[in-house]
Amino acid sequence: MIAGIIIAVVVVILIIAYVSAYNGLIKGRTYVQESWSQIDVQLKRRNDLIPNLIETVKGYSHYEQSTLEKVVGLRNQLVNSSGEDHQKTMAVSDQLSNSLKSIFAVAEAYPDLKADQEYTKLMEELTNTENKIAYSRQLYNSSVASFNLKIQSFPSNIVASIHHFKISEYLQVPEEEKAAPKVSFDK
């Protein structure tokens, strides 16, 4: 009788542990997927903003045609990609970020353009989108880290292998973001 009760208690505890480990894994995977969709939303937003930017700066003729073409080309590449390969998508996105930076850098030389209402608004929107891409990538990587930890650590690793949870890959962070932050006291 007592042995029966003990066995029953142990079984119940095991079931609870199993279920909570499983739910933890599901939650971890959902976080990873959610944070990817955050990135995706921002990439789409940027794709929508770029035609407006091109339209606005085109009038300022000294822009090198090749820079603008490169931006448009990269944008179209992102629009047409399926988005399945996260690493590849982010690599294209980083190139696009760099090209946009060079557009902004050139704009510094044009006071008229900098004073343009439409341009200022676009600039804030694009800066916002770029920052959100960086922050969602950070969130993605931290979600991946905690998900992978769950998959690899005991006892959730047993549950993970039964249900075929696979560890996710980190997104590469571009070199300049890894570098030590610059000191800026201006403004």
């Binding site: 800066t127 920052n131 950070q138 000191v183 800026s184 006291f185 403004k187």
Partner: protein, 300 residues
């Protein structure tokens, strides 16, 4: 570390609330004894008062605190694009819902967060901070505030603030009693019963005046200055950029005091808005010394 901090904050919130209820009950009993010759009546009155007060504060703390500090809410990104977008970024990476955003029209740079929990939180920034800080610096400041939100610092701080405000109100009331009682004593100097009543009232008034500062000290101790260091560290965890917060803190600490800030809300701000002279012992400071905060950030 983070979860310990959250648990500690929830525990301390209960301590602070318990202390507050005991204080209110004691004062209620004293008032009940003086006016109705019955402790029970005073206790019941105090309970009702405390209940209504707590309900108002918990249901409406954000609006009350924001009104005390003259903050006005912005509801669209267009009203302050940079601030709005930065708050969005910090909420995103801290994985908390977007808080309400307020702006205080004051040229001195400062900011704070308030609310009951991460789902009902608010951040406020002065117009001065928006003008004087660049994007990286503002990110550092908002990262600090978002850490307060995520750590449940805001609830404890808001409740301690409410406590301090209530105590201040009671002390003022006691001060009025004192003068009012003084006037009636002169009129009824021949009545002996009246004299006893007035003496008791005097004692209660004096007690309230003494208890007020003690309770305020208690609230300050609950607001351990350590949480400012933790929020600075949390900000760097979110932004990965200690330099932004360092230069923000330097700009904030070298600026003039705020005009619109409410003194009892001082502990909420990222940096003491009153810029009062630091005491030698730092025992009653609301914030840790700025040099020490910057030093710790540099070591990250």
């Amino acid at each position: 570390m983070l979860f310990e901090q959250i648990a500690r904050n929830k525990r301390r919130t209960i301590y602070v609330l318990t202390g507050f209820v005991i204080l209110v009950l004691a004062i209620g009993a004293a008032i009940g004894y003086v006016f109705f010759d019955s402790y029970i009546a005073g206790l019941v009155l105090a309970l009702v008062f405390a209940g209504v007060y707590a309900a108002i504060m918990i249901g409406n703390s954000t609006n009350i605190v924001m009104a005390m500090n003259h903050g006005h809410e912005i509801t669209k990104a267009e009203q302050a694009p940079e601030l709005w977008h930065i708050v969005e970024d910090m909420a995103l990476v801290a994985r908390v819902p977007m808080p309400r955003v307020f702006i205080i029209d004051d040229p001195s740079p400062n900011a704070f967060a308030t609310g009951n929990n991460p789902q009902h939180a608010a951040v406020a920034a002065t117009s001065g901070i928006l003008e004087r800080l660049n994007r990286e610096e503002l990110e550092g400041v908002m990262g600090h505030e978002m850490t307060h939100v995520r750590n449940y610092d805001i609830r404890l701080q808001t409740i301690a603030l409410a406590l301090a405000a209530a105590i201040t109100g009671m002390v003022n009331l006691a001060g009025n009693f004192f003068w009012w009682g003084g006037g009636s004593r002169r009129r009824s100097s021949d009545s002996e019963g009246g004299n006893i009543l007035q003496i008791v009232m005097l004692i209660v008034s004096i007690l309230l005046v003494i208890l007020g500062p003690i309770a305020a000290t208690m609230a300050q101790m609950a607001l351990s200055r350590n949480r400012e260091y933790l929020a600075d560290a949390g900000s760097v965890e979110l932004t990965r950029n200690p330099q932004g917060l360092i230069s923000a803190l330097q700009k904030i600490s070298t600026s003039e005091p705020m005009k619109e800030a409410d003194p009892s809300s001082a502990a909420l701000y990222i940096s003491d808005p009153m810029k009062k002279k630091k005491s030698l012992t730092h025992l009653f400071d609301t914030h840790p010394p700025m040099e020490e905060r910057i030093e710790r950030l540099r070591k990250m």
